[in-house]
Symmetry: D3
Subunit: 248 residues, 6 copies
């Protein structure tokens, strides 16, 4: 069930027996010479919808632009400041909890969002405490970074070994190929992409990773792999967060 | 050309000859008993993509949740505070202009966003002036509220007359039926929906418009009408904003 | 009844039977070679006071500096950022509603304030909802842009035709001449002022409108005209907003 | 010379030889049973204009609503939060310095504004340092609290002795009587007003000072006294801040 | 009793009979060629702890970095913007009052913090009023600037006369020598330090006070003097604020 | 070298050959029946100073109150909102980099600070990019969470096994015992503390962990252990971050 394709009476009906909602959050940023700029929201959205289907949980609107400062050295990348992203997450959550939603699961496709999401949850909890004290209605925020799930990491290793890398990876590219098979891009890929395992600001990132990839070889990706990642992620999310989504 | 389905080298190449980008902005809010909660972003996105196709202009990520305070009396509605929406619009625009984009056209599907968008443009301009004075790089923000375009209004009148109403209208519902024909909803519609021509806060809105419609009869909508609205809107946007998109 | 010339017991007494207040909002910005920099607050203030007299409604303090970014290319112009103006409007309104005022009518003399005012109203409503939910005390904010009132537009047309223009207009200058007859300014006016019907940032504005006028001929203004505008505006505001001011 | 009664070419001309501007700041708050709610802005405005006349300095728009939280227990009082007032002061100042003003003298009529004004000056200086470093254009902010000037205090003592008190004082009431002789109010005044010399929040203030006066006897005020205070204040401000206003 | 050396059950027990807490606030900024950069927090902390001992009052964590914009011309100085400091003070206070603390006494070692502290108190009170109205739990904030206490000023005069100066003074340096006898610094001191009695921004400060001292001769300081200042300050604070700390 | 015990000429001299600074960040929050409320800042401070000694690096002021919302159910706990903490970290860093510091290493004693710190670093980088673009001076922020260092974890396991737990752990308590041997607390400890491995808001935390401990047995702690943890942490930080501190 997708919020944007539902009517308000349908949501009203859903809320009579369920209190959970899934929100995909991604990013709009470079993913190397062949990765789509929307990779992180495309993957988060697809996995969120699959989890929604498997658990009959409502899936709400995504956050397509996340915190991607470090990618701003590449044309087309966009970023929210962490302070803005925190307010957006807050407004999403408090809009929903006013209607009776209580359990909000973010499915996140982008490492750069992690800290802002976590900070936002505490901003939400603290503002509720300050405004309402013990009388504050219960809110439970949770996040799943799909690309870090053990089942996903195992599959990355199995399919790509060290060539998975850390950004513009074949696993995330594969998911986008499965979702948008007409948007598979081909480009020359330097066999020796930037290999550093950390970075600082946007200049530093581009210095270390000249074409945007962090040690990855996205030419290995196939749409079929993407389908496997999608289902592996969804299955593990159901296993891990299913109780949460059921209000337990 | 869609930003989320592009790579950074493709954007780099685009920027060698173009400086425009189109950004859809909508809302996630009730649209009556049969209208989709995502109506405003669905319509804005579809029209934006059509304009992008006709003008070879890049279309960036949407803003799916807008300022919809007044709809918060209906389950499933979400809202950003105006102060949050202003920061989001600002971050979108300043992310893009750093790469050399200069002309940003928002295609807006929701009346409630109008003032925050306009306020955001001046926040952007004023911050640029304060930070950089005359040296500030040029930025041009423009917005088109597609549902107010004369060609669209004429078609509303022709097809639906007074039963177009002001919210959850057959015209916008028709566009969503064209885009998502499998999500056409049927429900009993009170033949006398709320008719007031204004409202104040979320309580007042629900008092005046008990099922969320503002004087509209969305049962008149058809997917075919939706296609006509989509093309009427796109054609007029090209006529009105084509020069802007070409940097004139 | 003017708030600044009242005592608190007088306000206490007023609140036993009335819940409305009028707040003028203007701007401090260039109005061409002969228009006063305070034109927008002078006109809003005068009209607000006249409406107050006619309806026995309290008139509160004005907001003399508004959102006038686009005029910052001319010496003496001042502006609040939209984000600041929104907070100011919010603080004015929540100060008043705490005392039992409920109906707040802004009389606005400046187009640049429109979006910030509207955004501020929703910021106020949304913060009330978030803090207090259904228990939030009722607040009704309304705004009247006097220069757009049909009766005023009709008089503009009758007296000045096309030479009314869009900024530094003879109608607003006339009102200031009526209020401050000793401050009537004479200067050479280029017979062909800038004629564009839109503008973007402060640089763009000055490029299009080199002396600050937008197609207007303020030399047509007379104090007598000003008096007519003042009364035409006040009469129409009473007709349109009288019920609101009476709590209906 | 008053900014609101000037044109932009007049300001442009002024700026060829002067860089100073005077800004009145007051409050909209209870001043006891007979004091006007606008007392603090009325007095600040009158004194600012007199100083402007004596020194040929431009006087800009006032800030009519200040930080008056502690008076919110009395109907009609209004307040900005300190955080809002700081942004307003900042926007006033940075608007002006962009045109070439450098020396900004606030004439303050309200004790509650002191800390926000001082905080705002450092917010302005620090933001300039962060944005522009050593290249930041020079800005000089200064404030004069007229009611604390030695000449004023001496006159308070001479005319009223201990019955001057600390709020809703005969001296400030006298100035308003001089400016608005038709708005002189008469009411029964308890001969023993609240006498505490401090207070905390708005509840505490009303507990200590039941009718709003802090130990004052405003029945002593006369318009003639008001004229003396006005001139005593203006003369001393010229003596103390004249060099500053002349750019020394 | 020091909060950082207590356990939560000890605080719980304390709160059964006391509602006061002392918070030291200082600064991290240059104090001339021989003064420690931590002078203001060191002195505030030492005096706060002494007052805590004498009155059996809990002493909470300090605020080691204050508002010191004007010292930013000297390496090692740090500053919070006033807007940040206000939020920090707010968060400290509202954290504590949620547990039942009501009376919060700041002991301040730095003039630059005065206005932000005062503004913060009103921000706290006003937010409480807006959120909870008359039901807001009582909060009492107070501040003592130890270096302005009459007993301290008398001792400054007695020991150092005019050579006390206004910044990097022998009295504050003496207290740090008493607390950190191993960190007594020796350096050549120009016998004619900057003597101006005011300053504006950071550039202006360094221009007027080239080595950071404001007319002071810290070479006069001795650890023994420091001990006297510490006890003089503590004794007077107990005398002045003892009732407050006891909830009277 | 400690900033608060240094003079500005000493810092100036340091900056001729070094660009690094260490900043401890902790929290003020409950640490179970026997743990000190200041545990996290005490440990971070002690380790920071030890690292400073070993590497001749300047150690700046700590942040004693962090993000500890989840501990607010226990008296004496304090918290900054994430949004406040982000601004504090930003102000610390931009104060220092203006003097020529470039490499800022936070030594963090509290898990709740992680996300706000990371968010703050990107807020800093992004604001620098927006204000100065490629011309922005280089800033490098890094953080070390000492309690997660492999050498520390190994020692936790060796000394305490499963009884280390996750909050109010014997390892952190041991460090505070080493630093403050006179503040070792004894209290009855339930042998079965709360064992959940996660929590949400402050109510949920207290429900799961009734005495504040997360599965830990702090009675195992000894001052001697604390000394070992201190040196193990410092040695590993030097090994891991030594190059960073030397500007490599």
């Amino acid at each position: 069930m997708l919020l944007h394709l539902s009517t308000w009476p349908e949501v009203e009906s859903y809320l009579t027996h369920r209190r959970a909602i899934i929100l995909p959050i991604g990013s709009t940023e470079q993913h190397g010479p062949t990765g789509l700029i929307g990779t992180d929201i495309i993957t988060a959205q697809a996995i969120a919808e699959e989890v929604g289907r498997r658990t009959d949980t409502l899936v709400g609107p995504g956050i397509p632009v996340g915190m991607a400062h470090h990618h701003m050295g590449f044309p087309g990348s966009m970023t929210l400041r962490p302070s803005t992203l925190i307010q957006v997450v807050r407004d999403y959550v408090v809009s929903l909890t006013a209607h009776g939603f209580r359990d909000v699961l973010f499915i996140n496709g982008h490492g750069g969002n992690m800290s802002s999401l976590d900070a936002a949850f505490y901003e939400i909890y603290e503002q509720a405490r300050l405004a309402h004290g013990e009388a504050a209605p219960p809110v439970r925020c949770e996040v799943c970074h799909w690309f870090l799930l053990p089942a996903v990491v195992a599959l990355q290793r199995e399919l790509y070994g060290d060539r998975e890398g850390h950004h513009a990876t074949p696993s995330e590219v594969a998911v986008t190929q499965h979702v948008y098979p007409k948007s598979i891009k081909i480009a020359h890929l330097d066999p020796n992409p930037g290999q550093a395992d950390f970075f600082r600001d946007w200049r530093d990132f581009r210095d270390r990773f000249p074409d945007g990839r962090m040690g990855s070889d996205p030419s290995l990706a196939t749409p079929k792999d993407g389908e496997r990642f999608l289902h592996a992620a969804a299955a593990e999310i159901v296993a891990r967060h299913g109780d949460f989504l059921n209000g337990v």
